[in-house]
Amino acid sequence: MFYREAGDFKTSYRDDGQTFPIRLDRWGYYAILAVAFLVVPFVIDSYWANAVLVPFLIYAIAAIGLNILTGYAGQVSLGTGGFMAVGAYAVYKLMTSFPGVPIVVHIVLAGAITAVVGVLFGLPSLRIKGFYLAVATLAAQFFLVWLFNKVPWFYNYSASGQINAPERTILGWAVTGPATTASAKYLICLVFAVVLAWVARNLTRGSVGRKWMAIRDMDIAAEIIGVNPLTAKLSAFAVSSFFVGIAGALLFSVYLGAAEASEAFGINKSFLVLFMIIIGGLGSIFGSFAGAAFLVLLPVLLKNVLVAQFGWPTDLAAHIELMIVGALIVFFLIVEPHGLARLWALTKEKLRLWPFPH
């Protein structure tokens, strides 16, 4: 009753293909964006930025990236952590080699470098599919992390083997380095997340997105209607790695500040992002955000409830938290195998009719 599309007529194909075809949806998203840009930066403190919002935004970007590859183009990847490491080390090398260039350019370039690496490791996808491809991308994960630990050039021969983000500013505001304020960290991640989500939406609703989905749903039929599997698969790897690379660059430079490849970008990261898109919903931009929110926020929420409310010891709470998150993942997958995005879509479909059953 309150959520409906009756009377909301489209008079052009341009209108019909827009991102939020339902007026109420559109207003809702605009409202969220307005709050995110105009209210949150003024009230955010460092706990909210570091524990909740910044990791949520960064993982949302990584999840969109993996979703393009796995959810839209159907190519399973376990190399996300490795590609994030490429983004992180690329932005580190760029920041230290060309200090005069704006940090935003470095981050985008780091994404582009990751895209090239992604295409290289995407080449096996032309011959193998499914689990076998997953294993091939696993090789990328281990090889890249090994490479960044083994070759001192990547970490500028520092004694600790770590990379540390030097301070860089945008319009006088520090966005990397120890002096960065919570709202600056939040805002730079928010801008990247919003712009990249919009780009992902545009790509997936247009012809390149249809090529990816055609390859995912039935590669033989895709080829017979004129989709070149080589360009379709490699473009998916390139775009996906671009997103993941930017997420890795932000994770290192803005969020962590210092990183060591096997610790920050291990196989755990690959699984974390994969779980995000499975729980959030494969083939959905909204699902990428929902999955990232679920896996970033839930542990924080549980910790707060268990420790602060119930007064449990922190070590016990930490173990219980892992068990509950794991159980919830299994529960969600049984109840709704298509993820939170499908759950949300079903809710909206119900709301369109509510309170009238027909």
């Binding site: 545009n202 790509l203 390149v208 249809r210 989905m213 055609a214 995912r216 039935m218 080829e223 209607i225």
Partner: protein, 271 residues
């Protein structure tokens, strides 16, 4: 009839010259010869049927035409040029579209998106234009959508435009698959058993659509079908295959009275 001139069909349609010419095609899988030295042509604007008992090599023939299989021997001439060995997507770009015996739609996408995939070869906007949804990408999207809507109207599937294909019943899926093939504006449309598994009404609908496609768009159609009533009614000329050989070629009436065709279908009396 000569090679260059066409002929006039029984119902008065003018058929043009040779559009596709298959010369001495032989296709082997290891020791098995699926197609043995077959030649026939498909003329501009005609409805050409390929029939034969199960395992005769009909689908293999269609797969040769659409580029899935590359024959070991023989030549394929299309639009007056000899076609070298090609990938299926290159063949599609020449203007050859097809449907499949078992429906090959993209289940995760809506009907509209499925049909739009048929026009992917007409959409050439660079990726940055698509990423920003600005300029050429948006213009192409709208232009191609208009063409797709014409096909949606033509096949009377307006009401399922936004439905995911996975939810549709079998008969409608077949129709969507035809729509996707038509969206590519093909010179030759290959239909692999378009009537398989349909009830009488669905068959009648499909026959009407095939005739209308041929009539309104002037599309040349080559089809494989088992329903003899349908084949004899629809097609202008019929190729009959058996065990990979061609045993008959001609108008439906000629084929019907060909003794070799009759024996292939009904069996030969043993003394």
């Amino acid at each position: 009839m000569t090679m260059q001139e066409g002929y006039t069909t029984a119902d008065g349609r003018q058929i043009g010259g040779v559009l596709m010419d298959l010369r001495n095609i032989t296709l082997r899988f290891g020791g098995v010869t699926a197609i043995k030295d077959i030649s026939f042509d498909i003329r501009e604007g005609e409805i050409r049927a390929i029939i034969g008992p199960n395992g005769a090599g009909k689908s293999s023939m269609l797969n040769v035409i659409s580029g899935f299989y590359v024959p070991q021997e023989g030549e394929i001439w299309f639009k007056g040029y000899r076609r070298g060995p090609m990938k299926p997507y290159e063949v599609a770009r020449l203007g050859i579209a097809r449907t499949f015996q078992n429906i090959a739609l993209f289940d995760g996408m809506s009907v509209l998106d499925n049909i739009m995939t048929g026009r992917l070869n007409m959409m050439k906007a660079p990726i940055w234009s698509q990423a920003l949804w600005w300029g050429r990408a948006e213009r192409e999207e709208v232009e191609n959508r208009e063409q797709v809507e014409k096909i949606i109207d033509f096949l009377e599937i307006q009401n399922i435009r936004k439905t995911p294909v996975g939810r549709l019943p079998y008969g409608l899926k077949k129709r969507v698959e035809l729509a996707r093939a038509l969206a590519a504006e093909p010179r030759i449309l290959l239909l692999d058993e378009p009537m398989a598994g349909m009830n009488v009404e669905e068959k009648e609908d499909m026959c009407r659509f095939i005739l209308d496609v041929n009539d309104e768009f002037g599309t040349t159609i080559a089809l494989i079908e088992h329903d003899m009533g349908v084949v004899m009614d629809l097609s202008d000329r019929v190729v009959v295959m058996d065990y990979g050989r061609k045993i008959g070629d001609g108008t439906p009436d000629e084929v019907r009275s060909n003794p070799e065709v009759i024996s292939a279908y009904l069996g030969v009396a043993h003394e």
